[in-house]
Symmetry: D2
Subunit: 348 residues, 4 copies
């Protein structure tokens, strides 16, 4: 069926496996041509499960295949920037999991390489493609809530990952708060001030050793004057949470869908609603919609809905939060528009 | 990708179009080979939208194609039974939209033809594949609610279809209540008594002319002794509704997901939650899951989760409801098991 | 404070104790002058708890006290009718717990005695005074939901009372369904047909011995043509339930407040909302409002919001349900208006 | 009835009127002896509505009445401190609406006067007596949520009061956030750091003229290490809001009861739940419970549940928030215990 986009995918960890399954069977515009992972056992297994799709252990096989138009990068974060640059060199469009890099320089390097090569570069901020968040965003855009006065958002995990992961995560703000910075910019607009508060509460000694935290509150001031507040936790004992509130002069929107709202169990003590199991289940449709959006971007030759510059903006804001937290002060930011994209930096 | 099931589809009305889109892009186990509709304009359009899939206007083209293993029948109801028999004759497995027929005889004829030909015959009761209903069903099966005492279910539409549709619909109970009879049997068990009450309230004259009703209440007594009650409406002014309650000795389950529970809009008067737009949106995942189940049934050579006999059972119960309503009496039913399937008939 | 109504109360069981506490401290228009119970220990205790209010063990002390204007009767049901007649003889207004009697004759006798004596007689159907039900009722009255097509209501208890209670209860329909018949008449209008289905499921042997049931479904047809359905249980394992739905041509109303909606506990498995503990907590405001309404009726000399005739109507309907259940047929009813009140009887 | 507490009330504005009605009819332990307001027309009216209760226009009449044991002060804030001191001089127990004063010195002066006179002094933080908040508090106290990691709370009004009110309000933080500081201390514990962010968004010019704001976010660090965040608004267009979340290591509690959860209206577009009309309706039971608690404190000679020192603590924290906001810095606080009470001050 001729209008499909031939896609190659690299990286078969949890997200890569999920993307591969979606590309193989749930996304009409995708033709998954080949999957790559450094671990031959894993890539063989996934290929078998997906009906015998072609596979290899070398990323170059994707780039050298003239039949492949776009690559999906789901490899470990330290490889992202180089893989984007290589794909740009080979003229392949790129969908890359967030973040592009834990370093500012390579983040901007990859964005610039993509721009010069004229390829599409989309970054995986899934919340932008969630049907519920999109509905809220459309209402804000349509002016239904009036002027925005306050943005409040919570992103929490149930249990901290191991300290090995945390050490390589780029720090709490880059690993967790990053998503909320992107949501804040998307739903409300550009940010001028960030003040962050953090604490290591579940295992103070362990977190001190890796110089990181497990809970944070971040206050925002938007360019519009609106206030914002983010709360994040790695150790919200009850489970995963992603919910937001946008308070406006005329109405207020809330997005919250942690609970399986449609099945209620009534027992002698109380009524219960189960949770969705995790963010992959919670955002299953969003992951599909994000890839669909990327493939339409390729096929229709238009701008990605979430660009490399958006990824960079969230990253600069996360770094500002970290500076704020470590130095105990409010960090001010400026932004400028280049090539139609917004680029942030800290205003000394 | 070799384990896919080559499928042909006939009938491109609303449901057929929806099934075709799912088979073309959202169901990994499906290889949609060809689509058929009597209207050339429609079938051309859909083919174009699905990337140029093969099409024709003649059902026989599906049956004569040796590469096709299974057919999905979404044509108008009066054609179902003959199309099932023809598919059985050609050795193709069948997924057929409900009901098989508006006549008892052709219903049983089609079931028997499928049995003799040894093909799989699955009928489209989507609620059985809805994730929320399945979760409830699993809990009932696991004994979590104890003994079932009461089953209560509501199926309602916002506006009656035109009288042209109603005249050919087989009557209120066969067109609407049928789904609830299937749900009742699935979630609680076999039914021994049906007492139906009906009324034409929105347009008494119009409904009298077509000898039909627009609202009904049906009381059930299950073989287990449990009581049940169904309420149905074609004119529930607020919108579509499909919700159920299973009350047990230890706990009670409710399934209800009409509202978009995860987005709340707060305005000066009240808080609002929008509805899902209709049953296609409400049960989008269920339709996919139903086809996936059918294709696994074909590939793994096991029994369908919803058989032709299940469709016949719901139909006999719907007819019993109609007799009860017209004659103002309780109708008793008996059932017997043949070839591992349950067959109902009215007692004396 | 001179406009208060001097009140005497008889019967200090659970409801009487609750009414006495409300009359003593929560209802401004009440001046609770004296409490009476046959058991001296109980009446002494309650008097002490209420700050030393006057008490005795003889109902005649209330009637002979010229300072008492109204009596609240919360004694056991078999005493109600005689106590009403005696109060009528003494010229005291009466608020009586439901039902007036388990016999038709004495029910009508008490009503007639009250009418002749010109006293106010109000019966304790608390749902009519519940703020949530009243809000729903006001919307129905205001035409906000259009024409009513369907009324659906559930009244359930968690555990059956002992068989001693059940033997003297007047039977399932008079003891439980009675409340729903009153709600149906209040919210929708007069009823023309009753068809009842019952079952003894939790302890079939025990219930058979007392010739009673523990679960029921009752189908209604209103004079307006609307359909209705009541479900009742004594053994809804999860707990107490009182919820209703009124489906109209323009909108639908639901009343349901079993759960403490404003406190949510999120634990690793699911989110929980506790229940209100029982109907006394659920309807605490309604009991106060019912007595307030009665005292205003006395002080302002107007008709009670729930009259003796309303109590009799619910009782006739409950008996019709029992006849329907026992005889396996639909029971038709007629009603006529006498002295501005509606009186029901079974047709033919 | 002899154990009642004879009470006098001064100030018949909105809250005073509400308290008077409760004391006259809904609180068994209260004997409302006399009401006072400077405006003779108002005090006459209220007296008439309450059945002719004694009244005057002079606060001294309450203090000179030897039959009065306790006074409820609901006069304008600037009068509170002096009235408390006068009541202390007359040996009357005091229930005073918050705040005690807009000045630190007179706040502490009134507290000290009460302490020296040995009278009970309770302050009207109603949230502490709300059944839902109490249930949450009990669970925190019982250790059900484990260690508290995060406290999040929202207090919002729909429309700003006039600028005349705002000018005399003591500023946003003292007028609005004060309640949240009390809730934070009560539910989580003592606070060590306050960082406040404010904005005037609905009418920047108007608010600038009175040197005040209409929206704020306040970040907290508790002595336990937990983080906290308060958001407040005077112009939340959708209406009044008071909701809180306490996130712990084992579970999380949410309190939120803005919506009438038990009545749902389903219309063609969406399902609606109306709001409670305002904080008086929302906290009606809490106001009663607060006065009941105070009267039991008097009768049983125990410590008030919310003391003058609690009021002072919230006030110091509100002032710290204002300093933080105006100076763009985090304000640190220390607290010490004197006479069993906690007293806060800013740390250098």
């Amino acid at each position: 069926v001729e209008d499909r986009v031939p896609v190659g995918l690299v990286g078969l960890g949890r997200m890569g496996d999920f993307h591969a399954t979606n590309l193989a069977g749930r996304i009409r515009l995708a033709h998954l041509v080949r999957i790559v992972d450094a671990d031959e056992g894993i890539v063989r297994d996934v290929s078998g499960r997906l009906g015998g799709i072609e596979w290899s252990t070398d990323y170059a096989d994707l780039l050298n295949d003239p039949g492949i138009e776009a690559v999906v990068i789901a490899s470990p974060t330290p490889l992202h920037a180089d893989m984007i640059e290589a794909a740009a060199g080979a003229g392949k469009h790129v969908f890359c999991e967030k973040p592009i890099s834990l370093e500012m320089e390579s983040t901007f390097g990859a964005i610039e390489a993509a721009r010069k090569a004229g390829i599409k570069l989309q970054v995986g901020f899934h919340r932008r493609f969630d049907p519920d968040y999109r509905r809220a965003w459309q209402r804000v855009e349509a002016g239904e809530i009036g002027e925005v006065y306050l943005f409040r958002t919570s992103l929490r995990d149930m249990q901290a990952p191991g300290f090995d992961y945390i050490k390589g995560s780029g720090g709490f703000f880059a690993d967790v708060t990053l998503h909320d910075f992107d949501a804040a910019r998307w739903l409300v607009g550009e940010i001028e001030e960030v003040t962050a508060f953090g604490a290591a509460l579940s295992d103070p000694g362990g977190f001190e050793e890796v110089d990181d935290i497990d809970n944070a509150v971040v206050a925002l001031r938007f360019a519009s004057g609106a206030l914002g507040v983010i709360d994040n936790s790695r150790v919200a004992g009850y489970g995963y949470e992603c919910s937001s509130e946008i308070m406006g002069s005329k109405a207020t929107l809330r997005v919250d869908n942690h609970r399986r709202a449609s099945v209620e169990t009534l027992t002698p003590d109380s009524s219960h609603r189960d949770y969705v199991s995790d963010f992959v289940e919670r955002f299953a449709d969003a992951y599909v919609a994000g890839l669909e959006s990327f493939l339409r971007t390729v096929r229709e030759d238009r701008d990605p809905e979430v660009s490399g510059a958006d990824a960079a903006a969230a990253f600069v804001l996360a770094k500002a939060a970290e500076h704020s937290y470590r130095e105990g002060r409010t960090v001010r930011l400026t932004s400028e528009t280049k090539n139609g994209e917004v680029f942030y930096r800290e205003a000394d």
